[in-house]
Amino acid sequence: MIRIQNLTKYYGKRRAVDDITFNVEKGEIVGFLGPNGAGKTTTMRIITGYLMPTRGDVWIAEHNMATHSLEGRRLIGYMPEVTPLYMDMTTRAYLTFGARLRGLDGKKAGSRVEEVVEQCALEEYVDVMLGKLSKGFKQRVGLAQAIIHDPQVLVLDEPTVGIDPIQVAQTRKLIKELGRDRTILLSTHILPEVSMICERVIIIHKGRIAAQDRIENLSTILKGGRRIRLHVRGPAREVTERLTRITALRDVRYEEPFHVVEFPVDKEPQAEITGLVVQAGWTLLAMESMEMSLEDIFLQLTTEEEGER
């Protein structure tokens, strides 16, 4: 649904996005993760047609944003990083304007406003000036505006920043609901958020993609899994095979010359592993914990990048 190919963006001489390529399939919720200044907002601004890329292409469905921007934009609902509110308008007037701008006629706009007001729990504030809303409610109006025309694609730039924990939970729930029949690209630097909402994550650092994977593949870590790296002197295949028999281990992999095993936090298979190795007459050269939170992965991916330069 969103296709990005070799996208590069320079602001003057500063390179903000550097040759990134990725797809977001129809119906997928993808988390776009990266530290400050990684290029998330820039990428999203190009996807939504606010900015033109220096090089590369963006397709929304079959529309190339360079040549068929209007058709592409029609399919997108966008919540920018800075919630784009006209402070002198009421919630209703603002949402109606947004709906009309997206091509809904007067009657349809009216009924859609009612719907999104309910969906985003804004009933209490429909006739209040936007300037008088609290930060969290402003954020919700921003989200309401993004979904007013029931778009197939949602691009959300840090939708839960600066709102209180209860509202964060509600917003995440709402996004998840929205994602049932929509394609969503969501940027954040909150890692647990990704695991809660997204099916896949793309990690971007210094304008480049540092990693992208399905959440399941990161799930052990996300669910609080642990890893241990073993260095065993012995026949690798056989070691793997024997380790696999230990029930506490969720995964056993051979990454020459190490064996990496994964297990849930509540298990303690170390003794069993040592016993096994000794029993087989092999030598345990090393056993070290590879405990990694997504934060660690994230940091590692992003710092590795730095090391390469």
């Binding site: 601004r45 606010y50 900015l51 033109m52 209007l70 784009p84 701008l101 997206r102």
Partner: protein, 238 residues
């Protein structure tokens, strides 16, 4: 077309909910009214024309056009709403024309409130209604050119004060271009009055409707709207 309507109505709405339009209109009325009556008094009510009003209005319109338009884009860039507009399925030209028409509606409203000056003259004297008509046409055309220039200035920055200063600079530059005429020689001497905002206005106040002047003001309006669109588009590439 529909989008232009939606945007211009929204723009007019913003003008009417902020004090700006009212303050500008009030000051415009007060100042031009003072000149209007002073002129009448100075001629001992012999010349029942709107000369005094026009003398003030033509300059005030430059100033107030720069002030009315400074927020049009600059403010939206600052608050971030610009991103909403530019990612909506709306052509850049529709945004430009819509916003321009919103400001033109305010200016027209401002001019309409001054119609009571000629109305007073009709009540108490025998003014030349033809000249008054052409003068108002002139003010409207001048005003639309000024708004277009001010709008262009607003697309250049996200700072309203900067836009107002740049807009005012271009406006007064084009207005006083006529004054440079005396120093110029050759083709420039011919060209300068033709380009000057003030030169074309004089005819209207004398009851003359010169097609060239109408074309001039409409062209300036169109040119700066076109430049505004260009400025908005190039900003996407930066």
């Amino acid at each position: 077309m529909k989008n232009i309507g939606i945007i211009s109505r929204k723009e007019l709405g913003s003008y009417l909910t902020s004090p700006m339009a009212y303050v500008v209109t009030a000051i415009f009325l007060a100042l031009s009214g003072t000149f209007f009556s002073t002129y009448l008094a100075a001629t001992s009510f012999e010349d029942t024309s709107i000369r005094g009003f026009l003398d003030a209005a033509q300059i005030l319109i430059l100033l107030f056009a720069a002030i009315l338009t400074m927020r049009l884009v600059a403010e939206e860039k600052k608050t971030g709403t610009w991103e909403l507009l530019l990612t909506a399925p709306v052509r850049d030209v529709e945004i430009v024309v819509g916003k321009f028409l919103g400001s033109l509606a305010v200016l027209t409203g401002m001019l309409v409130t001054t119609l009571y000056f000629p109305f007073l003259l009709v009540l108490f004297g025998d003014p030349d209604l033809g000249t008054i008509g052409t003068s108002y046409l002139g003010l409207f055309l001048l005003g639309s050119a000024c708004l277009s220039i001010g709008f262009f200035a607003s697309t250049l920055s996200s700072n309203q004060i900067v836009s107002a200063v740049v807009g005012g600079g271009i406006l007064f530059g084009l207005w006083f271009l006529g004054a440079v005429e005396s120093f110029a020689t050759g083709a420039l001497k011919e060209l300068i009055p033709f380009l000057s905002l003030s030169h074309h206005f004089t005819d209207f106040t004398r009851g003359i409707v010169d097609t060239r002047s109408i074309v001039y003001y409409l062209s300036v309006t169109a040119l700066f709207l076109f430049l505004s669109r260009g400025s908005i588009q190039t900003a996407r590439w930066r």
